[in-house]
Each structure stands twice: as structure tokens, then as C-alpha cells.
Symmetry: C2
Subunit: 557 residues, 2 copies
């Protein structure tokens, strides 16, 4: 029997999506949405751009109000009302109106929890000082804008080099602030492999953002008088001190599970609410969606947290389907994500090297640097692409891309391919849209598939930038096959130089008893070189991504 | 045993790709490429842009020369040399050097035919007059540029509204010419369904291109003296006459199969060389690739011709693999294609309505008009998207998109989905990259999947723009659920108006014994209306794509 009363806790992303879908499935249900904050269905992903002024209208962030949701979907939306407890036995929630303090019970037949996530605030001394902000909702953004409007707010320290941290850094720079990013790890964007993240770091630095990696914050101190900082002096582990007129805390989020835990619902090891494929919790009358839940990683099969708007929105819809008896399954997540800063874009999908190692999944990787579209048509730029795949089956496991144009397209195609359990053979054969302004006859995705296919079939053997440090030059030759002009602009130390075009005639210069590691700019010509060498009896490996990947990975900072 | 001598006929796209791959697989093989024209491996897709001046360097069109192919791949490339016969018995081809007239035989162990296609030139009186050009190779482009350099070349008539015709029309306009496109069919871009093509037609007209649809050319006459036209007077079937200083013949291409046919190789019903999945012809020593061959349509299973660079390039690689004993299969083609004119882009993949009807495949269609990215971030534009899917299984059969931004991305994702045999459920669940500048939490592809899912599950019933003409308003109500403001700007004749937000309170105004066809701007709010109506006992159908699709389909020209 369909529920008479559906209660939804949380009116943003997953909750709003669930409520709207529920109404489409049932005109008769009583659908009540409780939201602790002052807004429902607001554009949280737009907050950095509102702070920076790229989004000028605050109204445009407020996609719906309780009134518009009432009009369009006949929803009973109660903002500034917190659910403080779930009485599972009696199937009711205890609500508290935050303005009046009034408390009351609301009965439900079905309950959907979309309680979201809260910013991580580690117990660093001084973390709660004035001038420190998180970026989670419209009031946060309002507070930041108000603080920035003071002309003495000139130096920003962003703590955390994740998506929000980078977007905020860009937007604060856009407003003319001096900006530093402080990151405990040795790279920004932890979901990317380090050599890919380096490209973004390089871009940030070239735009005047100061980057402090390997730099956990140990304290936020009262500013020294000489600094006249409005917020804090940010103290790094190595003792360096950064005066800050504003501090943005972008240290990630953790699931908001207090309500679920107090009600005795099952919680997973990663700290999110445990749900099945129907988004149902351990209580058959309660569903949960969005940042608050754990989902299956589609590649590794492990439980994971993916606090992103897209999955939340789809999970909300799926939960509503199941509440009303239309079985719809959520298969799991890939964690497809994207961030753009200063015109450079980084996007990824599926597993990265770290995830695969942790899950004990064997993989091969390739790097390539093809143009975003046919080079003979103006405006092409380089798309740096990395794919991870199973060494024997060739199944695609993950992909990352960085570039100025066409990055979102390639990652969306690769996300679709991973979802479809495609192999690198499938990638090689994909038939993508080609005209000179849009791609190439062999799209970067095709090229990735072909290069990986060569590995799987044994036509090529790779070596990676992070293995170069371990090679012994007494039994290895590092061979640069680029042109003389390219070579003159810089090469990998210890390498010898034979341009590809001369290789066939100069094979005798190479030793047969040593392994030859060939490199060029991007790895394509050096692959050709390896094919020549291997067929002529040499032991040869291709440096994946070649000079460009090596350069970004080893020299960027 | 691998072949000692591989002969390739045709040095562009498929042929060049096959040759380069062959060398990577075998350093020992003697690889000879015969090319009738003066150039190998040139950028034929770039020719219109070179004519228009967007590509300024003629050199950039010449991706390789015989010398660079010799240097890099040790290929023996013989340009201006035509293969005039294949002696299958003796495994040799007869070559003719076009400059000297010298003829000789070249033995082969394996032969790859990449003979391409030739422009269709129907026997229209006067078709060979001076000032008439096809756009197939660099000399063609050179001739056009020379003709355009005469300042009296002011009026262009492009015969044929396909990809090349449209690209040429844009580029000629860019050079300041008056441009007319003459098309025998009732639409441009025959691979698109008519309501999608209308959007492009509208754009062409708005940019000052004169469009003559349903207008076969019956003759090219000596210009009348009063016209002082440099080329011809183009005579349309209805008697209209267009003076032309230049005529571009863009009537499509047909496979160049003379050599194959004369050698007794099997030719398919569509006029292309018949090959198996290894790209092998009916002769076990001869392979064929590119525009000259028929391929399987991956959706309908029918043999078809797909004269595009992407498939040609991949087929060349696959043929070389198979020649050297590495089995690689070409599964078939989707005909994924894209064209951009004046900033608007049309792309498609898989089957269109015409193909499905011809193949007797049942389908449903939906249209939608979502924004290219989150609307609260500046710069979003509308992506008009149509998908075709199987009514019961929900399997995706085809997709078309038109818009200013993000069209290539969505079609590439959908091409990948068709290749993976995905259903509309799969589309609904795809996890695509979302940040406000790049997409939406529910990407247009997700929305298409969700809307189609509603059809498959019976949550919604659609009606299409081309069925509206047949409805009987005595037993049907056409219901506009848009806002009053939208309504005032224009509506579908005969419709009544109840804004969605008022519908629940005004149900009594609607008759229960008639079918209600609801529409809004794009079909989303009218779907909501249909859900209300259906649950309240009304018979309701949603106008797919709603006002926008109806407007483009019925009012554009």
C-alpha cells in the first residue's frame, strides 16, 4: 500500500528531488519536507561563484522556495525546522521550530533522510576564530561576502586543496585578494593521481596563488599586531606563519548521521548511513540518500562516500520510486567529478591508483597528451588523459583528464564506458562525433583505447614516471627520440638523443644488452620507436606520457 | 605467415592509417602506398575551413608527405600513381604513373583497398560548366580559392544541404558572398529528423543564407547577360532561376568501387565493397576500408554506407591488424556525426526515425530542451535533444542534438551508450561530471533517460508534433500549462490555458470524456500536469518537446 504520509528530512539536492518525484507518483500522499536551514533546494555548488561575483544574483541560487514548491508540487515544506529525533516504533519524528523553540511530533508512513554532510572542522586550536568560514549554504556565502566587502580583507588563506578549496581560491583571486592554499597532503585534489594534480598546481601558481603542500595547519593564532590581519595568523606544521584577513575552511565534509545513529539505524564503516540498492536503511520504513549515505564504489566494490550533487539528486528520485512501490535500483557510484580553475579543467571518474592499490586490484596505466580537436583547425589545446585498466581483460577502471577544452566530454564518455563495463578494445572502437572544430578522426578516447590495447596485447611495454627514479643507468639507456629542436628546450637528465626519423639507421649506436627506455613529447613517437627496437631484438619500454608527464610530475613545483 | 609485401591503394584516412599501423606491426614488410592524387594523408575534413579562411595555412592541411612517411614509417608512397587493375590470380596490381603514363605491375601478398568515394554528379544539364566545384581534395580547394579571389565572385549557390554543403555555405558567407543552398529534399541534413533539421535551417536563414528546400536542380544554364553571373544560372524544378558566380556541388558521395568491381570482388546492394568483420573482402588476400566499403548499421543490422573519417581511420588500423594476423573486429557503425554552422551545432548518432521505420523497428521518441549547464551559472544555452528507444526494453536506438554548447559531449555519451547496448534506465543513472560551468546535477542525458523511463514504465504517454495535425478538437483538449507571460508571447492554435500552478484547483474546468494534450515550453511542466491529470482520472498525453519542438517543426520556415 502506498504511504499516506511521506516525511523527508532535508530539503536540498536529494531531499528536494525525492519530494518532487514523490508528488509525481502520488497526488494523494501527504508529503512533508523538513529543512533546518532557511532555504530549500538552493544551488550549493554555485556558492563559490556567488562569492566571487561570477554569479551576480543571489536570487538565482534559490532555485525554489517553500511557496513555489507548494504551488508546483503541493509540498508541505517547513524550513527552519529541525528534526531532533526519530521514534521508529511509533513511526514519528520529533520536530523543533528553530525560531520559536516549539516542538511537535509528525507521524510518517515512510521517511526519507537527506540530512547531507557537515564541513569537517578538526580540533585545531583557534579554528573557530572570527573571519573563518565554511562554504556550505547561502548564509555562509552571505557572511563571506559581507566580510570581503571590508576593504581591509586582502589576504585569504584557504585551508584544504579539494574542489571547494580550489574554486574558492579562484574566486577570491578574482576579487583581487592575495590567496594561499594550505594542504596537509603532498598534492591538491586528492581524488587525482599526483602527476595529474601537479598540472593544476602549476596553473594555480602561475596565476599567483601561493600553494603550501605537505603543510598541515597546527593553529590559528591571534594575528600579530604588525600583520594587522583581520582573521588569524595561520600556523603551519613547519612553523611558517601566514597572516590571513579571511580563512576559508575547506577540509571536506562528513556525513550528518546523528539522527540516524541515535535512531539505531545501521551505520557503515566509512561513517555514512548504510542503505541497500533501493536506498532503504536497516529500517524498512526509512530510506536515506545523498551525502549522508555510503554507496558502493562501482569499480572496487567497496563502500565509499561520494558527497556530490549528481548522485544525491538521482538517489532522491530512486528513493521516492521505491517508497511508492516502483522498484528502481541505485547500482553504485563512480565518483565522477570535475573542477575548473582559471580556465584549466580537471575531471575524473572511477578509481585512481590509490583506490586500486588499497582494494588490491591489479591495473595498468597509460598517459597521453592528444589535442582537443584536429590540430589543423585553430584553437586546439592539449588534453592530458590518463586511463587505468585491468592488465589482462583490458577492462576500464578509471580515468582522469586535465586541459583547457574538451575535458568534461572525454570524462563523460569514459564514465559511461566504465558504467558499461567496457574494455580498452571498446574504447578504441567508439564512434564519436568528429568534425575539425570538435574532435579528431581518432578521438583522445580512441587513442587511449588503442594505446592500452597495445599494452594488453603485448605490442608495447610501458614504464612510468615514478619508476624512473629507480632505474640503474648502468644497465638502462634513456632514449630521447624527439627532434633536435625539442631536445634543445630540455630533456630528461641522463638521456641520449636519436630522433625517431634517424633511429632505423642508427640502431647500431644502441646496446643490445641494456633495456632501452624511449621517450618523446607525449609517448606516441616513443611507442613507434619501441616497435622498431623490439622487432629488431632490443629490450625496449615506452615512458608513459613521456616528457610532458615526467615534466609535470617531477618538475612542476 | 605475415605478408612480405603489403600494397595499399589510397593514401588518405583509411589507407594512411593502415600503412602506419602495418609498419608498427612489421619492420620487415615492404609496404607500398599508391595514391592517385598529388597528396597523401591530407585533412579533407578541413577543406571548407581552408576555403573560408578559418584555416589560413594550406600546409597545415597536408598532414604528411611521401617524404615524412618514408622517414617516420619507412613507407614507399607513390603519389600521382593510379592502380588501374587488380590481377587477383597473380596477386599483383597494375599501376599507372599519371604524369608519365608509364604502367607497371606490383606484386602483393596482401592488398588493402582504401579507394574512398567520389562526389555524386547527377546528369543534370550543364553540371560540368566552369565555376562549378566539388570539395573533395586540396586541388579542389585550391581551385575554389582561386575562383573566389576574383572580386566578381559574389553569389554562391551550394547544391546540396548535407554536411559539406552547410559547411561550405557558412565559409562562403564568411568570405562575404551571398549564399543560397538548394536542396531536393524537404530538409537539410537528411540524417536528422525533420524537426531537428528545422532548427539549423532557421539558423541558416537568420544568418542570411537563402534556403531552397524541395528544390531539385533541373539545369545549369549559360548565365543571362543581365545577370553577369560568372558560373551559371541555376534552374530549379519550379522554374526559379538563381544566378551564380560560383556553384558548389555537394550532393554527397558514392563509393569508388571500379577497381574492386572489375576484379570481381563482392559488392553490396548499397554499392560498397562487401567486407567481413575483419575488413576482408571476398578475396582472402584483399581487405578494404573507408568510404568504399559497406558496414553494418549497429542499430538496424542493415548494410549501410558511412563515408566518414573516423570509421575509415579505425578500419584502416583494423585491416592492418588482421593482415598481420592480429585478429581485430570492426563491429559496425553508428554513423555518429556532427556539423557546426554559425555557432550552432547539430550532432547525431545511431538510427533516426526514417531508418527505424525502413528497418521495421518499433520505437518511441522523446524531445527535451534542457540547459547546457546549471542555469544559475552564467552562459547556459539550450541543448535540444531527441532520443529514440525501444518501447518495451527501453534500449537506446538513436539520438540527435542541436544547440550552441555541449552538443558534441551529449552525443558522444549517447554514442557510447548505444554501443554498450544501454537502456534508458542506464541513461537515467549515468554519473556524469557536474560542476556549474559544465553541466547540471541531472545532466541532459540523465533527463532524457528519466523522461524515456517514464514512457517505458507507463508513467507518461506522449504525443508528437507531427500527430497534432490529426487531432480532432471535438474530442481533444489542447492544454497550455505555461505561465501567462509565456502564453502571451504565443501558443499553439486551439489550445486553452491553465498554468500548472493553478491546475490542481481548476481541474473542474476540464472535461473527463476528452483526451487532454498538455504542453508547456519544453515538456517538463506539461509532464507534471499529465501526472496530476492521470491520477485524477483524466486521459492525458504530453506533447513531446512541447511548444519549442512544435514551433521549430511547424513554424520555422
Amino acid at each position: 500500500m502506498p504511504p499516506k504520509t511521506l516525511v523527508i528530512v532535508g530539503g536540498v539536492a536529494g531531499g528536494a528531488s525525492a519530494a518532487a518525484r514523490a508528488r509525481r507518483l502520488s497526488e494523494d500522499a501527504n508529503i512533508i519536507v523538513f529543512e533546518r536551514g532557511p532555504h530549500v533546494s538552493f544551488a550549493n555548488c554555485g556558492l563559490p561563484y556567488f562569492v566571487g561575483g561570477e554569479i551576480q544574483s543571489r536570487e538565482s541560487l534559490l532555485l525554489h522556495t517553500p511557496a513555489t514548491l507548494k504551488e508546483r508540487f503541493n509540498l508541505d515544506v517547513r524550513i527552519k525546522t529541525e528534526i531532533v529525533a526519530i521514534d521508529r516504533e511509533a513511526r514519528r519524528v520529533k520536530a523543533r521550530e528553530l525560531d520559536s523553540g516549539r516542538e511537535y511530533y509528525q507521524q510518517y508512513d515512510a521517511l526519507i533522510l537527506s540530512t547531507g554532510a557537515v564541513p569537517v572542522r578538526p580540533p585545531i586550536p583557534g579554528i573557530d576564530r572570527p573571519g573563518h568560514f565554511v562554504v556550505r549554504n547561502v548564509p555562509d556565502a552571505d557572511s563571506i561576502v559581507a566580510w570581503l566587502d571590508n576593504p581591509n580583507t586582502k589576504r585569504a588563506v584557504v585551508v584544504g586543496g579539494g574542489y571547494i578549496g580550489l574554486e574558492m581560491a579562484e574566486q577570491l583571486k578574482r576579487r583581487g585578494l592575495e590567496v594561499a592554499i594550505v594542504e596537509a597532503l603532498d598534492q591538491v585534489l586528492a581524488t587525482f593521481d599526483v602527476e595529474m594534480a601537479r598540472m593544476i598546481e602549476l596553473e594555480l601558481e602561475s596565476k599567483g596563488i601561493k600553494l603550501f603542500l605537505n603543510s598541515p595547519v597546527v593553529g590559528f593564532e591571534e594575528p600579530m599586531a604588525a600583520d594587522s590581519a583581520r582573521a588569524s595568523t595561520v600556523v603551519l606544521k613547519d612553523g611558517r606563519k601566514l597572516p590571513a584577513d579571511i580563512v576559508i575552511l575547506a577540509l571536506g565534509v562528513r556525513p550528518e548521521i546523528g539522527l540516524a545513529r541515535d535512531a539505531g539505524l545501521e551505520i557503515g564503516a566509512r561513517g555514512g548511513i548504510r542503505v541497500d540498492e533501493c536506498m532503504r536503511t536497516s529500517d524498512p520504513h526509512i530510506w536515506a540518500v545523498g551525502d549522508a549515505v555510503e554507496v558502493r564504489d562501482l569499480v572496487t566494490g567497496e563502500w565509499t562516500l561520494i558527497p556530490l550533487a549528481g548522485p544525491a539528486s538521482r538517489q532522491g528520485r530512486i528513493a521516492a520510486d521505491n517508497v511508492f512501490g516502483h522498484q528502481t535500483l541505485y547500482a553504485g557510484s563512480l565518483g565522477t567529478s570535475i573542477v575548473g580553475v582559471f580556465g584549466i579543467v580537471a575531471a575524473g571518474t572511477g578509481a585512481n591508483e590509490k583506490c586500486l592499490r588499497r582494494a588490491g586490484i591489479r591495473f595498468e596505466a597509460i598517459h597521453l597528451h592528444p589535442p582537443s580537436h584536429a590540430t589543423y583547425y585553430p584553437g586546439a589545446s592539449t588534453v592530458t588523459l590518463k586511463i587505468l585498466f585491468a592488465p589482462e581483460s583490458g577492462r576500464l577502471l578509471g580515468a582522469q583528464a586535465v586541459g583547457r577544452d574538451g575535458v568534461d566530454k572525454r570524462i563523460d564518455v569514459l564514465a559511461t564506458a566504465i558504467k558499461a563495463k567496457m574494455t580498452v578494445d571498446d574504447l578504441a572502437g567508439l564512434e564519436l562525433a568528429y568534425a575539425p572544430p570538435f574532435g579528431s578522426a581518432k578521438d583522445p578516447v580512441n587513442l587511449a583505447g588503442m594505446a592500452a590495447q597495445n599494452i594488453v596485447r603485448g605490442h608495447a611495454r610501458n614504464i612510468h614516471w615514478d619508476q624512473l627514479g629507480n632505474i640503474d643507468l648502468s644497465n638502462t639507456v634513456l632514449l630521447d627520440v624527439r627532434t633536435t629542436l625539442e631536445r634543445e628546450a630540455g630533456g630528461i637528465p641522463g638521456s641520449i638523443h636519436i630522433p625517431l626519423e634517424e633511429l632505423r639507421n642508427r640502431l647500431s649506436e644502441l646496446p643490445r644488452d641494456k633495456e632501452i627506455i624511449a621517450y618523446c613529447r607525449s609517448g606516441q613517437r616513443s611507442y613507434y620507436a619501441c616497435r622498431i627496437l623490439t622487432q629488431r631484438g632490443y629490450k625496449a619500454r615506452n615512458l608513459s606520457g613521456s616528457y610532458l608527464t615526467w615534466y609535470y610530475a617531477c618538475n612542476a613545483l
